[in-house]
């Protein structure tokens, strides 16, 4: 017996096998993406941070939407050409489908990489700045920033992302719990930096610490542990035997009515410790540098303290924490988090902004950002008056500024985005603060903001080259930092998860469609209807992937 209904549909169900299967598979896919979108709803409803809106540029998303729809159309054309037995045309349409899919992925790649290279920092007072991290350089092992770093870079120094924490380390303690294989990266980083500073890490007897040294130390530890574990276990078993025998004896002697319970005997049971090899059971190796060494670590790799730091694998570096910075060019300042927090505390967000480290801290950039904020506030108030004067808006007060009701969305009030920063620079100038408050200047600003949005693609390549304001944040002011990856907040987390899975579906679909279009001639020659069935099924999947995007686009790009 052979399997039926591969090509012909079964009469009573009206389906051939794979068509039924793909609908079932799509049902499970609906549940998969349904689960993810419910997750999105849940996360957004319960978010305790200002949920980013319009954080992803709309235009490329729109282009992608159009392209996916087109590819869904061409895949149907391909199928119908196959039904008409035009193999060449079928291949051409399949080619178009694959082209659109590839272009979609291309745009996606650009979107992803812009986000990944974009840094965000939440400071201790909840002010958030976004931008691009500068590079630091090493001067005799010590981190230097800004102009000094640039000079060293020109001389060929290594570029280091300026978001490290620096220690002047004298002593390192390596615990031996984890295998060296998974710690190589961390330990090698320390050893490499020491070597560059002509220092060595040595143990008490003066032997140099290497990975192999640690491996051997760990092996010795675990050999001793093994031996001791067996000795302890056997010792305890014997001790229990003795204790139970004694207990039985006591009953026999009439000193005791019934058998003791385990927990009653337990305190009497002792292991004979003398047989153990405790000397080798040292759980860590402590080593000293021949001279103090500057070591820098990623913020996420170390738990900080003034006098020491603990690395991810438990390694402890002892020494003074140095003053280190996050050196950035800022392309957005976001007070929404601060406003969110102030609202919960019932305090005035504008006062808190004035008092924040960014605007009034003891650093040379404070004045600069204060100016930006003042300009922004002017624009906001101007806008607000416009709303009141022209449209007589009286509802939906979002917040109040010095007793004045504001109607703009909080995002417009508390976030200065890169378009605004550029606009303020262009029209007010860095130096000249006495700008004209009349409508014409205001409209200029608005026009420039709009123009920037409309020409996203040009700006994508230009924006990084613009000189954005510079900011050096001492690492103790940094509360939480991340590039715009899933880590930064749950908006990006769910965005990357859903679009990432969708992207995987696109890639999977491309492989299948390519196979049907360009590697299935044999099946076509054998039975063209069979191939048509396959393409139909593949096309159904492709439509589904398109449909998912139809949900993704408004939810992540527009809402």
């Amino acid at each position: 017996m052979e399997l039926p209904y591969i090509v012909e549909p079964r009469k009573d169900t009206g389906l051939f096998n794979s068509k039924l299967a793909i609908w079932l598979f799509l049902a499970s896919e609906v549940m998969l993406f349904g689960g993810l979108f419910s997750g999105y709803v849940f996360l957004r409803i319960y978010a305790d941070f200002p949920w980013p809106e319009r954080a992803i540029p709309v235009l490329p998303g729109l282009i992608n939407t159009v392209m996916l729809i087109l590819s869904s159309v061409t895949v149907v054309f391909a199928w119908s050409e196959l039904k008409l037995r035009n193999y060449r045309k079928f291949q051409v349409y399949m080619g178009f489908t694959l082209f659109f899919a590839a272009a979609f992925l291309g745009f996606k790649y650009v979107e992803y990489t812009t986000k990944f290279s974009h840094q965000a920092v939440k400071m201790s007072d909840n002010v958030v700045v976004e931008g691009h991290v500068d590079y630091a350089a090493l001067d005799h092992g010590k981190l230097v920033y800004g102009k000094d770093a640039k000079k060293l870079h020109k001389e060929g120094a290594e570029k280091i992302k300026a978001k490290k924490i620096e220690y002047k380390v004298e002593e390192v303690t390596f615990p031996l719990r984890f295998r060296m294989e998974s710690r190589k990266k961390i330990i090698n980083k320390i050893l490499k930096q020491a070597k560059a500073q002509d220092a060595k890490l040595v143990d008490e007897s003066g032997t140099e610490i290497t990975i192999d040294y640690l491996k051997e130390a760990r092996k010795a530890l675990y050999d001793a542990k093994k031996k001791n574990a067996i000795a302890r276990r056997d010792g305890l078993r014997d001790a229990w035997k003795v204790a139970k025998a004694e207990d039985a004896q006591r009953i026999e002697d009439g000193k005791q009515a019934e058998k003791s319970k385990g927990w009653q005997l337990a305190p009497q049971v002792k292991i004979d410790e003398s047989v153990l090899d405790l000397a080798n059971e040292t759980a860590s190796i402590t080593a000293k540098f021949t001279k103090p060494v500057y070591l820098h670590f990623g913020r996420n790799d170390i738990r900080e303290s003034e006098e020491f730091g603990i690395l991810r694998d438990g390694t402890v570096v002892k020494g003074k924490q140095q003053k280190s910075y996050m050196d950035m060019h800022i392309d957005a300042v976001d007070f929404q988090y601060l406003a969110f927090d102030a609202k919960q505390k019932g305090s005035d967000p504008f006062e808190a902004i004035e008092k924040s480290w960014l605007l009034s801290g003891d650093h040379k950039y404070a004045k600069h950002f204060k100016e930006y904020w003042d300009k922004h506030l002017e624009v906001v108030l101007h806008h607000n008056h416009g709303l009141q004067d022209r449209f007589k808006v009286e509802q939906n007060v979002t917040t109040t500024y010095k007793g004045e009701k504001l109607y703009l969305p909080l995002r417009e009030i508390f976030r200065i985005n890169w378009q605004s920063l550029i606009a303020y620079d262009e029209h007010y100038g860095h130096e000249d603060h006495g700008y004209n408050k009349d409508y014409s200047t205001f409209n200029e600003v608005e026009k420039s903001r709009k123009k920037n949005v409309e020409t996203f693609i040009r700006e994508y390549f230009q924006a990084p080259k613009r000189v954005f304001p510079h900011l050096k944040i001492p690492s103790k002011e940094v509360h939480f930092e991340s590039s715009l990856t899933p880590k930064w907040n749950n908006f990006y987390a769910i965005y990357f998860t859903i679009t990432g899975l969708h992207g995987l579906h696109i890639i999977g679909g491309m492989v299948v469609l390519w196979w049907f279009g360009f590697n299935s001639r044999k099946i076509y020659d054998k039975d063209p209807e069979w191939l048509a069935n396959r393409v139909e099924v593949g096309g159904l999947f492709w439509h589904f992937v398109d449909l998912v995007w139809i949900f993704v686009f408004p939810i992540f790009y527009l809402m």
């Binding site: 017996m1 052979e2 399997l3 039926p4 591969i6 079964r10 169900t13 389906l15 051939f16 096998n17 039924l20 299967a21 079932l24 049902a27 499970s28 549940m31 998969l32 349904g34 689960g35 993810l36 419910s38 997750g39 849940f42 996360l43 319960y46 305790d48 719990r177 984890f178 998974s182 710690r183 990266k185 675990y222 542990k225 093994k226 001791n228 574990a229 067996i230 302890r232 276990r233 305890l236 078993r237 229990w240 385990g262 927990w263 005997l265 337990a266 049971v269 996420n300 991810r312 939480f480 991340s482 990856t485 899933p486 880590k487 907040n489 749950n490 990006y492 987390a493 769910i494 998860t497």
Partner: protein, 614 residues
């Protein structure tokens, strides 16, 4: 597929086989090995519960490598962390890698296509992929037992893997890929993919490959059950896959889907994460699968019993149609009861009431199934062969399991019973003496078809009777302890409370209660050890009977009526199953028809005279 009858090599015939029967047997053997391993972990746990101060006995530790003992045991005793590892992996293995693959994987694969008269599954290659993905996923989940794969042992946050506990567990490890907790999630995602492929395959096969004349209401009940199970797997598993993917993201990319704001732990300090995540979201996604999963476990077992009871009572199944409708309703309802696992999360009384209502509703179809089976026994001429013994034991055992669930369904009663040994007792009654007994019945029943040999009755009895007694001694005291308030996750069985008791007199009421019931631990643990011994005759039986068993006399040794008995025996790797296309003339359980000489009338037997007018 359309490949010819060419000769196959050993590897493609028995290992990377696309034949549903071989795959079914592969599923069965793998699942039983996993069950054995899960059982082994449980023995370690039970030792720790009953004898927390004594080192594990030599008959347990001989299998452990020394390094393992040095890393995970303390003076040969089970530590809390190790107990958690065992507990999490016991649950995972038993549910995901043991019972589901045995019920749905093995019986679903071997029996279903035969009962509908199909040559194979609709997609044989996909079927093979399902099995291998299952094996890979299962092994990945167990990687943590080997130091070479994992720095931190296996997953240790319970089989439910609740965050934020599961999110922060092993967070101190330098390489997140090399932690049992992450590997558990990755294994889970692979495993779910396997189930999805399998369920698509089973549904397509049942809908499209039924033999001529096999209309929907002529399908054996097992096929209906498998259809419902496949739909549950198809639709309920993806949300868990979502939860798995999100948790992997949390662990590997530092997102905070399930990490609340300001989470602080002694191991890592203040979590370096954005926060704002929702641990409750995970619970919803988990139990959206988790509860339907119970029926994925149950239905194959009940299906096996349903096939066996008519055969050994020589009497049609009572209420076939109501059972079919019952199982469909059960499948639907199973999707809207999940939050009864979450009464204590503070969802609010409205939602609790809704889920309480649906939970009580779902007992109706369950009772229909069990009652129909019970009434089917009435007035039958019962042959107590091995499969029938197991099937008969299934009914009361599953009954206890079901009835003890009622107090848990009501959220008021659940306030007291939540997370106690009562819950453990309840679901173990459902799964072990209930479902596993049903599946054992299935193994004894179809074994002659697979191998052409009967399993030994003597060994069967040695397996059955002690198991039945031991398993009740093991699980019934759990209900008592649970009502007394014993918490389900005590690694030392409540021993820590005894310090407060001086000679049984104490003002600490709870300590006094623990003092009163703690000795049951020893009884239960001995029952567990004996239960392990009782499985030895079965293991000997399964492998021994293959070589030394009594040969079957005909292709239909039990004189049953469904299509799988219309094939040659032994039926293992035969391509295409049936020599000629089978035709079906009647329903599946035509036993003892008054108008027929023999006491059974198979589905495939052509009517001799012209059909009567009924």
């Amino acid at each position: 597929m359309a490949d010819g009858h060419h000769k196959q090599g050993f590897v493609s015939k028995y290992i990377f086989s696309t034949d549903h029967k071989v795959i079914g047997v592969q599923y069965g053997i793998t699942a039983m090995l996993f069950l054995l391993f899960g059982f082994f972990l449980m023995i370690g746990m039970r030792w720790s519960i009953a004898f927390p101060h004594e080192p594990l006995p030599a008959w347990f530790t001989w299998i452990l490598p020394d390094g393992w003992e040095a890393r995970w045991l303390q003076d040969g005793k089970v530590t809390g962390e190790t107990y958690n590892m065992f507990g999490a992996m016991h649950g995972t293995i038993m549910v995901f890698l043991g019972v589901v693959p045995l019920g749905f994987g093995a019986f679903g694969n071997y029996v279903t296509p035969l009962q509908i008269g199909a040559a194979d599954m609709a997609f044989p290659k996909l079927n093979m992929a399902s099995y291998w993905l299952y094996l890979v996923g299962g092994l990945v989940m167990c990687f943590g037992f080997f130091e070479w794969f994992s720095d931190t042992g296996t997953a240790k946050s319970g089989w439910t893997n609740y965050p934020p506990l599961a999110n922060i567990a092993d967070m101190q490890a330098p390489d997140q890929w090399r932690t049992g907790q992450t590997q558990w999630l990755l294994g889970l995602v692979v495993l779910i993919t396997s189930s999805l492929l399998g369920s698509v395959n089973v549904i397509t096969t049942i809908v499209n490959l039924r033999a001529k004349g096999l209309t929907w209401f002529r399908l054996p009940f097992l096929v209906w059950a498998m259809l419902v199970v496949a739909f549950i797997l198809l639709l309920a598993f993806p949300p868990l896959e979502v939860a798995g993917i999100m948790q992997v993201m949390d662990r590997l990319t530092g997102s905070s889907f399930f990490t609340p704001t300001g989470l602080y732990t002694s191991q890592v300090g203040l979590m370096d994460s954005a926060g704002s995540g929702s641990p409750l979201l995970f619970q919803h996604l988990f139990w959206f699968l988790g509860h339907p999963e119970v029926y994925v476990l149950l239905l194959p077992a009940i299906a096996c019993v349903t096939e066996i009871i008519p055969t050994f009572t020589r009497k049609p199944l009572w209420g076939y149609r109501s059972m079919v409708y019952g199982v469909i309703v059960l499948g639907f309802l199973s999707f809207i009861v999940w939050a009864h696992h979450m009464y204590l999360t503070g969802m609010g009384p409205v939602i609790s009431t809704f889920f309480q209502t649906t939970t009580v509703l779902i007992s109706i179809p369950s009772v229909i199934l069990i009652t129909s089976l019970l009434i089917s026994l009435w007035g039958g001429s019962i042959h107590f062969r091995m499969p029938m013994l197991w099937a008969c034991a299934f009914l009361p055992m599953f009954g206890i399991g079901g009835l003890t669930g009622l107090p848990l369904a009501f959220n008021l009663a659940d306030l007291h019973l939540h997370d106690t040994y009562y819950v453990i007792g309840h679901f173990h009654y459902v799964v072990a003496p209930g479902i596993l007994f049903g599946l054992f019945a299935g193994i004894y029943y179809w074994y002659p078809k697979i191998t052409g040999k009967y399993m030994s009755d003597l060994l069967g009895h040695l397996h059955f009777w002690p198991s039945l007694i031991a398993i009740n001694v093991l699980f019934f005291p759990m209900l008592i302890q649970g009502m007394a308030g014993f918490h389900r996750r005590w690694y030392n069985g409540g021993d820590a409370y005894l310090d407060k008791v001086a000679g049984g007199e104490t003002e600490n009421v709870f300590a006094a209660t623990v003092y009163q019931f703690i000795d049951l631990n020893i009884l239960m643990s001995w029952a567990a050890f004996i239960l392990a011994l009782c499985q030895i005759p079965f293991i000997i039986n399964v492998f021994g009977a293959w070589f030394f068993g009594k040969k079957v006399e005909s292709d239909n040794p039990w004189n049953a009526t469904t299509l799988e008995w219309n094939t040659e025996t032994p039926l293992f790797a035969k391509h295409g199953n049936f020599d000629e296309e089978p035709k079906v003339y009647r329903g599946p359980y035509e036993y003892s028809r008054p108008d027929h000489d023999k006491d059974y009338l198979p589905q495939w037997e052509a009517p001799q005279s012209k059909p009567s007018n009924d």
